[in-house]
Symmetry: C2
Subunit: 246 residues, 2 copies
DNA sequence: CCACTTGGTAAACACCGTTCACTAAACTGG
DNA sequence: CCAGTTTAGTGAACGGTGTTTACCAAGTGG
C-alpha cells in the first residue's frame, strides 16, 4: 500500500492546520498565546485531541521551532538564488543581511527559537552535530565554509591557530561541515577547510548571531533611531579581515 | 515623623521577603515557577495579598530584573575593588570576565533580564537614557569609557568616524556616559570621549554581550567541551585592536 | 464481517492571574 | 481617648491553563 489512506491524508492535513494555527498565534500574540486550547479552538477540535499529534505543548513548540528554522533556511536560499555560484563574497553578505532582515521581520519566531532550551527533534547522534543549539546558523556556516575552502584566504593572511583545547571539538565540527558542503556539490577537504578556518567561521557566526539577537531583543544600551549602520559596521569589521569584501 | 511606623517596617520586611522568595523560585525552578501562588505560599500569605505590593505579576518580575541588575553591578564592582584606579586595562578585562562568569553562574537570572521586553521601572526621561534596554552593560560601559578617555588610544590608532546617521544618537549617549564617568570622580569631556570612541565602546559591548548571551542560551552551533578559550579569543580580538592589552 | 486502530469528546484534576467585597488591625488627628 | 481612615490580608469567584482518562465512533485491514 503506497497510496495514503484517507485517514492518513486527513491526519496530515490536520497536523498542517495545527502547525499553521499555532504559528499564527505565535506571530500575532507571542509565545504565551500559543496555548493548546487556543490552537484547538482555531482548528475546531478540543485541546485533548492535540495529544493525538503531539506528546505535550513543549513537543508542539519544538516542532514549531523546526518549522521556523526551515522557513529561515528557505528564505536565505531564495535570497542566494539570484547570485551565481562564483559570487561567494556576495553570498556571505547576502546571508548575513538576510538573516538580520528575517529576524527583525519575525521577532516572535526568532525569540521562540533562541530562547528554547532544546530544539532538537528526535535523538542526537554523531551524525547530527550540526543540530546542536539551533539551525539558524546552517546556511551561513555552509556558505562561509564553501567560500573559505575555495579561496583559502585571498589576502594570504595567516590565521591564528585555534586554542589547543578546542581541537577535538573543532575537528568533529570540521567533519560535519566538510560533509555538508560536499553534499552540495563542492569538494572540500581538511586542508582547504582547516581548523583555523573553521574556528574563524565559528567566531564570525557567534558575532553575527549575537549582534542580531541583541537587536531583536532590544538589548542595545541606547535608543538607536537607525540600527542598520551599526549592523553594517559590524559586518565590515567582521568580514573584511577575513578577506571577504563586498 | 521621620521614624518609620511599625506598619512601614513590616511592609518593607514583607516586600523583601516576597522578592527573596521570588528570586529563589526563579533560580531553582525557572521563570515559569515564579507564580504568584508559589511566592505567596513561601511568604505565608495568599496570592491576592501580593497585589498590595505589586500591580501585577509582570510588575513583580520587573522589580526582580532590577534586583538582578543591581546584584550584577555589585559583583562587578567587587571584582574591581582589588585593582587600582590606574589599572584600567585590567579593569576592563576583569569586567568582561566577571560578566561572563556571573552570567554562566546565574543562567535563570540572566535569561529573565535578557528576554524581558521592558525592564525599566518608572518613567524614562532624558536623564535615563542609560536605562534603555537593560542595565547589564552599565559597569562595562563606565570602565571602558573611563579608560579610553584617560588614554585616548595609546597606540595612536585612528578610529573610524561613526556613520553619520548615528551621530545624534551617539551624542545623546555620549552625554550620558560623560555624566556617569564624571560622577565617579574622573573628568572627561567630549574631546577625550569623542563620538568615535563612544561608537567603538558600544560595538565592543554588543559583541561581548552577544557572545555571552549565545553561550548562556546554548546557541553555539557545536558542542564545546570548554568554551572559555573561545571567550578569551573573542576578548583578545575585541580589546587588543582597541589598545587594551592585558 | 470483525478485531483493532485511530481521532475526537467530555469530565475531571490541579494549577494559573486577577478582581472584589469584606474584616480586622494599625494609624491619624481632633 | 475615640472616630474615621488607611492598609494588609482573606475567601470567593471568574476565566483561563496543561494534562489525563474513559468512552464512543469512524476507519482500516485481514
Amino acid at each position: 500500500m503506497t497510496q495514503a489512506t484517507r485517514r492518513e491524508r486527513l491526519r496530515a492535513e490536520t497536523e498542517r492546520d495545527i502547525r499553521r494555527q499555532a504559528r499564527a498565534l505565535l506571530v500575532n500574540h507571542g509565545r504565551e498565546a500559543v496555548t493548546l486550547r487556543a490552537i484547538a479552538r482555531e482548528v475546531g477540535i478540543t485541546a485533548p485531541a492535540l495529544y493525538r499529534y503531539y506528546d505535550s505543548r513543549e513537543d508542539l513548540l519544538r516542532h514549531l521551532c523546526d518549522d521556523i528554522c526551515h522557513d529561515l533556511e528557505a528564505e536565505l536560499y531564495a535570497a542566494l538564488a539570484p547570485l551565481g555560484e562564483d559570487a561567494g563574497h556576495e553570498q556571505v553578505y547576502a546571508v548575513c543581511r538576510g538573516f538580520r532582515r528575517w529576524a527583525l521581520a519575525h521577532p516572535q519566531e526568532f525569540s521562540l527559537v533562541f530562547a528554547s532550551p532544546e530544539n532538537v527533534i528526535g535523538s542526537v547522534g554523531p551524525e547530527d552535530l550540526l543540530k546542536v543549539g539551533d539551525q539558524f546558523g546552517k546556511v551561513f556556516l555552509e556558505v562561509a565554509s564553501r567560500l573559505i575552502a575555495k579561496h583559502d584566504h585571498p589576502h594570504g593572511e595567516e590565521v591564528a591557530e585555534p586554542p589547543e583545547v578546542l581541537h577535538n571539538d573543532l575537528r568533529a565540527f570540521q567533519q560535519v561541515m566538510i560533509r555538508t558542503v560536499t553534499a552540495r556539490g563542492v569538494q572540500v577537504d581538511e586542508e582547504s577547510l582547516h581548523l583555523g578556518a573553521i574556528f574563524h567561521i565559528l567566531q564570525a557566526w557567534v558575532r553575527l548571531y549575537g549582534h542580531v539577537a541583541l537587536e531583536v531583543f532590544g538589548r542595545f544600551p541606547l535608543a538607536v533611531s537607525d540600527p542598520e549602520p551599526m549592523f553594517d559596521a559590524m559586518l565590515a569589521s567582521l568580514l573584511v579581515p577575513m578577506g571577504i569584501e563586498e
